[in-house]
Symmetry: C2
Subunit: 468 residues, 2 copies
């Protein structure tokens, strides 16, 4: 019996897609990567994932897991492989508000978990533009970051336990619900961020946090990044670390956004060099009127801090959201970053991090280097400034893989000089294999390879990704 028939026996025919039906899975959402999977399979539960992997292992057929297909690195490209969609493992197994945990399957869509947690006044504080499609399994596989890492950490920091199907098909139970658990090697963090190359994450125990009772959200205009960092530090001190997001959009971002979204209401009358979207989240009792211990509402606290810095001239202009509609407007502008970045081709989209006081010098240095390589290239930057994480997009003057690679190498060199990382929150996939080979410690790569060989001796799990 051939493999397709065996898979159909296992899952039912309608959950094994071949031929024209796999087209929807053949291209990533940016249109940059395409591949030709052998078949797309849609298991219902962990047991079926295990059976599929056993079948793949027995036949030495590569297997590539896929969630919401919102990745940016080509990590789910699957030529000749079984593409395993986690989409039907979409059950929230348990919501335990008193323990502040959610036990969820890998196919749960991120925004669905937000909705489920909000019913208990809680939040799963991982968020980014693609939250309406991205799935928890993909978030874990890539150790996704996003806009609230500053306060809550990345996906890794939000995960207590995992269930993993190993390359052998065995199911590994690491579903700890504990904040302190030192029972042996930290396998959980090894599988988080491994992009499906060591096994398939099928479920997780995730931390929930109190949903802020109120937000203070503002757009702030400044002349440069240095006073922006002052603002961040002042707000962190006065709120005891309640800054949820601190996002940077330069003038060029504001201009392109106004061009592509002409109906969006601009935050300021003119375009300023540095624009910050800042958001503070308040737990009670800072959310309402001044209370019995004399505390003030979060919006007032934000306005006071901004007013002080407007008076000293450090801030050029500021708009505080007065209601949820205005807050959503501010966030939309930031979350349309992908629409801006991918609105013309060819593009090179990057994801780097540097110490946060080095973001300004990073941009200056890279622009200098780029001018030497491709003077006609144009660029766009957007940054989770509070994490030192920058997403440069470069539109080269011509479509040339060789030119793209030279641009990426120049970018890496600048990052490396600043002790940064060429991969901050998107992962490696296939797009950064060259960077891994050039930039990562060779002993570290050899160690990763040894682990990969030990856990996946036949090399069937998402081959050709992560490791150069």
């Amino acid at each position: 019996m051939n493999i397709i028939a065996e898979l159909s026996n296992l899952l039912g025919e309608k959950h094994v897609l071949t031929g024209a039906d796999v087209l929807a899975y053949s291209t990533d959402w940016t249109g940059k990567y395409t591949s030709n999977p052998l078949a797309v399979v849609r298991p219902l539960d962990t047991q079926q994932v295990s059976e599929i992997v056993k079948l793949a292992a027995a036949n030495r057929i590569p297997i590539v897991p896929i969630g919401g297909n919102t990745g940016l690195t080509g990590a789910t490209m699957a030529d000749g492989a079984i593409l395993l969609s986690l989409g039907r493992l979409n059950t929230i197994r348990e919501m335990r508000p008193e323990a502040r945990i959610a036990i969820v399957e890998a196919g749960v869509i991120l925004s669905n978990l937000h909705t489920a947690a909000a019913e208990f006044g809680l939040n799963f504080p991982l968020t980014f533009g693609a939250r309406g499609s991205a799935m928890i399994g993909g978030n874990l596989a890539t150790n996704a970051g996003g806009s609230n890492v500053l306060r809550y950490g990345n996906t890794r920091a939000l995960c207590l336990g995992l269930e993993v199907v190993l390359p052998s098909g065995e199911i590994m139970d690491l579903m700890s619900e504990l904040h302190k658990d030192n029972a042996g090697y930290d396998l959980r963090n090894l599988f988080i961020g491994a992009e499906g190359t060591l096994g398939i994450i099928t479920a997780a125990v995730l931390k929930l946090v109190p949903k802020p009772a109120a937000y203070g959200t503002a757009m702030v205009a400044l002349a440069s990044l240095s006073p922006a960092l002052d603002l961040l530090n002042k707000l962190q001190i006065s709120t005891g670390g309640a800054v949820e997001a601190f996002e940077f959009m330069p003038a060029s971002y504001m201009e392109l956004h106004a061009e592509l979204f002409p109906n969006a209401r601009a935050p300021f009358e003119k375009i300023h060099p540095v624009n910050i979207l800042v958001e503070i989240g308040a737990t009670a009792p800072r959310d309402t009127l001044p209370n019995e211990v004399g505390e003030i509402p979060i919006v007032d606290l934000l306005e006071n801090a901004l007013a002080d810095m407007i008076e000293t001239g450090e801030i050029l202009d500021a708009t505080v959201a007065q209601n949820e509609t205005q807050r959503i407007e501010m966030w939309q502008r930031r979350e349309q970053a992908a629409d801006l970045a991918f609105h013309k081709k060819p593009f090179v989209n990057c994801d780097i991090s540097v110490p946060l006081d080095k973001v300004e010098v990073f941009i200056l240095e890279f622009e200098n280097r780029l001018a030497l390589i491709d003077p006609a290239a144009t660029t766009l930057y957007v940054s989770h400034l509070g994490d030192g994480n920058v997403h440069p997009t470069i539109w080269p003057s011509s479509a040339s893989p060789e030119l793209e690679e030279r641009i990426i190498e120049a970018l890496e060199d600048v990052v490396s000089d600043l002790r940064g990382s060429f991969s901050a929150e998107h992962g490696i996939g296939i797009s950064k294999l060259g960077s891994m080979a050039r930039q990562k410690d060779a002993t570290a790569i050899a160690t990763m390879r040894a682990i990969k060989s030990a856990l996946d001796p036949f090399g069937i799990m998402n081959p050709g990704k992560v490791l150069p």
Copy 2:
């Protein structure tokens, strides 16, 4: 040339101890574990560690790293092995207050790092009783916890980068200084908590946090643990998560402490069932007088919260530290836990965690089970209640390894029923090998073994520890 001569050539004779000189290293500090190392070596730097490991690998001689010798699980017992002391790698390579990081070698004593950070108004927020001897390398090797995990996380959460000497002697550079870094598998977390079985940690990039400008510290007496958790939740909400420590000592702890330390000033006139040491840390501006935005000092905030619950009868009594001397008194009582636990032999000391609302039922259930096994046994509990982490000490009625094992198995069973962990913050060493074999997922153990074999094919790195 024999191995001792080769080591002496490498390090100088006075840094290779043999014979009677190794006696000081032969026994752990609790006196529970003893071993007979081949030699104790004291390298000066990472390069020398690398050379020693290469020599050990070439000769297939086991090698066991040791820091401050404050572990509780026998993880540094080293029969016939080279015991490698990290004590001379005690340089703080860099203090970078603006980036809030410290780059330190493995032999830096924890309290020395506290002192160095305090000079910049910062803190490395890992702390526990043995901080005056424990070294950073050991903290990392065991993923140490302690009293402030509630607010700041365990050692793993406080580490950004590592330098590791692998079992081959190669030096691996994972010294990232970034909060977002997704460049390949998370090797850092694999080596943290591996207790020297995968390699030797020689240096690390550690996170620093603002040192609270003021503390609110109190001893609180309650009738049971349930209102204690209410108190914790109330304080977390009113301070926005600024509770640094929430430590539980039952009546029996207070009684034994009064007996062993008769000169210590008791916090209350009588002994109460539940005694909590709570500490809140304030960043400015909550530290001084009510400020321009109407906020109140941290001590008043704590007193207000306690007064409310005294009025409703939830709290029986409370004492707030009025100065640093009183604060230190409160902490001393808690940090003398080891003196209490080890004051008579034989003892069984344990380190478990359960969901925090299960601590009460854990103690009740275990006492019931213990009464069936050894009715004359006595017990002591102390708990990082905010983490659900309990340290039970059992004094069996007789010295019998078989009886000890039955007690531990009963304890494990209760913990397992409550979805807890048999190892919360002390690690496995040799003391919990039986627990690992009985309680840990078999697939997880097989995966750990595969990683161990891949990275340490000759099995020379701290053999016989962690993996059953």
